[in-house]
Amino acid sequence: MVPYEYYLVLSGLLMVLGFVGVIVRKNIIALLISTELMLNSVNIAFVAFDMKLNDVAGQVFVFFILTIAAAEAAIGLGLIMAIYRMKKDVDVTKIAELKG
């Protein structure tokens, strides 16, 4: 059986990957994907601890997170579509309208 630490390492890597994506990418879609990546890294961590502690609460959390992630993706993509229609662009640096 794979030790739960391996899962945690994977989760951490995915989290860092997501962070780096959020920090360096300018395309909103890429940002959204990176966010999803981070959420999923958390999911992996939950499942790993669930396995380690023999508790189902972790799996319940995962389902909730998956639901929220789906909703978020739907709203986020909708917003991106709206922005794209207005600006013909999905680069975050170009749509900084509130920046003073």
Partner: protein, 648 residues
């Protein structure tokens, strides 16, 4: 004696009337007439009061109203009417009356005619508050008030830059004296718990000599300022920017004598301190001599007389310092008369010459103006100390007194007497006789002055002739105020104390009777020397400036350094201006730039700038992009986690 309140308040009422209605209703000449009436009323009232005091030798102390209460002491507006104040008040009001009359002629046609008489009336009111006071605060009120009037009148023709400057200078220099004077008042109040003269006099014996000396010296500091003694004399010659009646009234006869009066008034305080008397004596002597040397070489007719005033005031102070208070006050009286006469005479000349001041450009105007010349001659002889004019009786007694007490003082005063005779007759010859150097245009219009100017001259000249013979009367009259054992308001203890304080003058014997004094002068060695000195001075001036036997320019070149020293007034003005005017101003400017603008505002505005600057730096972190914030968050999280790991 209730009517005495009229004396100060009649000029005040005139001032208010002229001040309110002068320009609209009274104009010329009514405002002048109102002023003359105002001062004449107080002159009459004061003469009546004078006669009363002369008859009875009493003193009256009226409290008019309570100005301020400090602790248990009431500072009251009040009148102390004793021989001393009666004499001074009479001098002020009588001389003022004639000068006012003269001024109605002198100021004729001036566009500010009402303003002039308003100021003059204000001056007389303030001067009378000063003379009549029975306490130091009211004295200070009058003291500053005459300073204000003097300021206003010196700056009367304020369109002239020189007049405005001279006015300001006089006020500020006077304020230096007033500063000391006020400190003297404070010290006196803290020491005695009262400021009424009579109470102070009676408390003097119980106070330590050091404190009395400090009080006396501080108060004398005020007198030095007001009476323009060295080292605070520089304002007086410049004060000649004012109209001539002002110079006559304020800067010769009355206000500048206030210092002398004050010292005499506070005689018991000064008598209690050896040091104070010596200071008065030496300051007076130095002023008498130095001012006379300054007067030698000036060319401005009014300034020469102004230096002479300085010098004569020095004689008065010297007399007081010698313990001869009666003689000092008599010289004050006589000086008021003959100096007012000289100034009015020069005013008459100025009117005839359209305000030409330089005596080198005058000459041979005596024939066209006989009355002016004659009266001026009388005044000059009095100043030079020739019998039987009043100056002889008053000045020579001081010099003779000095011979008995202090030889050094005597030498300087004696030398001063020679110089006095010389410079006044230099002025006299250059102005009225000598060669004709006058501008022909002026000569065409040369004329004698109208009666309202000549009559005061004649009256004052007559007074100059007569007054000397009343010397004995004056000295006896003043005894209840200045002779310790006759002073009714002193306690026995204080009488003895004051008498001992005046011990320096105890062996001075001066003939009180005028005829005896004259006889004594003509028979004793000292008297003859003094007379000869005065005559020598006159003769020298005659030889140099009338006969032109010796060229004055050559003499000047021969004694080049001395001439320069005298001509530049011993460099007092330059030094003072360099330090206290330009130096002070420059220092202020520098302090403003460095202290206020750079240091203090640097800190204040600097702190504001620091917050703006640091805000600008920290603002850079708020870039408005999520990725940036995520990175910051990440760094923060990492730091905290690291700390957690380390500290655990």
């Amino acid at each position: 004696m209730e009517y005495l309140w009229i004396i100060p308040f009649s000029p005040l009422i005139a001032f208010v009337i002229i001040g309110l209605f002068g320009y609209k209703f009274l104009r010329e000449p009514l405002s002048g007439i109102v002023a003359v009436i105002g001062v004449a009323i107080s002159a009459i009232a004061s003469i009546i009061g004078f006669i009363d005091v002369a008859k009875t030798g009493n003193y009256y102390n009226l409290k008019l109203f309570n100005w301020m209460t400090i602790g248990d002491y009431n500072i009251a507006v009040s009148i102390l009417w004793d021989p001393l104040s009666a004499l001074m008040t009479c001098v002020v009001t009588c001389v003022s009356t004639f000068i006012f009359i003269f001024a109605t002629g002198y100021m004729k046609g001036d566009e500010s005619y009402p303003r002039f008489f308003a100021y003059l009336s204000l001056f007389v009111f303030m001067m009378l508050m000063l003379t009549l006071s029975d306490n130091l605060v009211q004295l200070f009120f009058g003291w500053e008030g005459v300073g204000l009037a003097s300021y206003l009148l010196i700056g009367f023709w304020h369109y002239k830059k020189s007049a405005a400057n001279a006015a300001m200078e006089s006020f500020v220099v006077n304020r230096v004296g007033d500063w000391l004077f006020l400190l003297g008042i404070l010290l006196a109040f803290v020491t005695f718990g009262t400021l009424d003269y009579i109470q102070i006099f009676n408390k003097v014996p119980g106070v330590s000599v050091g404190i009395i000396t400090a009080i006396a010296l501080l108060l004398f500091g005020g007198a030095v300022g007001k009476s323009a003694q060295i080292p605070l004399h520089i304002w007086l010659p410049n004060a000649m920017e004012g109209p001539t009646p002002v110079s006559a009234l304020i800067h010769a006869a009355t206000m500048v004598a206030a210092g002398v009066y004050m010292v005499a008034r506070l005689m018991p305080v000064f008598a209690a301190s050896e040091v104070a008397l010596n200071t008065v004596m030496f300051i007076g002597t130095m002023s008498a001599f130095i001012a006379a040397t300054m007067g030698l070489v000036q060319n401005d007719i009014k300034r020469i007389i102004a230096y002479s005033t300085l010098s004569q005031l020095g004689y008065m102070f010297a007399a007081e310092g010698l313990g001869l208070f009666g003689e000092g006050m008599f010289h004050l009286t006589s000086h008021a008369v003959f100096k007012a006469l000289l100034f009015l005479g020069s005013g008459s000349v100025l009117i005839a010459l359209h305000h030409l001041l330089d005596i080198q450009k005058m000459g041979q105007i005596g024939r066209a103006m006989p009355i002016t010349m004659g009266t001026f001659l009388i005044g000059s002889l009095a100043l030079a100390g020739i019998p039987p004019f009043v100056g002889f009786f008053s000045k020579d007694s001081i010099i003779e007194g000095a011979f008995e007490v202090n030889k050094f003082v005597f030498m300087l005063l004696w030398a001063g007497a020679f110089l006095t005779a010389f410079y006044i007759f230099r002025l006299f010859f250059l102005t009225f006789f000598s060669t004709d150097r006058l501008d022909p245009h002026l000569r065409e219009h040369l004329h004698e002055s109208p009666p309202n100017m000549t009559i005061p001259l004649i009256v004052l000249a007559s007074a100059t002739v007569i007054l000397g013979f009343f010397k004995e009367f004056f000295l006896n009259f003043l005894k209840p105020s200045l002779e310790p054992h006759s002073m009714k308001f002193l306690s026995e203890e204080a009488k003895i104390f004051v008498f001992e304080g005046l011990s320096r003058s105890h062996n001075v014997e001066i003939e009180a009777n005028a005829f005896h004094f004259l006889g004594h002068s003509l028979s004793s060695f000292l008297g003859i020397v003094l007379l000869a000195t005065a005559l020598a001075g006159i003769f020298t001036a005659y030889v140099i400036y009338q006969l032109r036997k010796v060229d004055p320019v050559k003499i000047g070149e021969m004694f080049q350094p001395l001439y320069k020293l005298f001509y530049n007034r011993w460099y007092f003005d330059y030094i003072y201006y360099a330090i206290f005017v330009y130096g002070y101003y420059k220092l202020s400017k520098v302090l403003w730039f460095v202290g206020d603008k750079i240091v203090i505002d640097g800190i204040v505005d600097g702190s504001a700038k620091v917050s703006i600057f640091s805000g600008d730096i920290f603002r850079k972190t708020q870039i408005g992009r999520i990725s940036g914030y995520v990175l910051q968050m990440l760094i923060g999280t990492a730091i905290f986690l690291a700390l957690f790991l380390i500290i655990r």
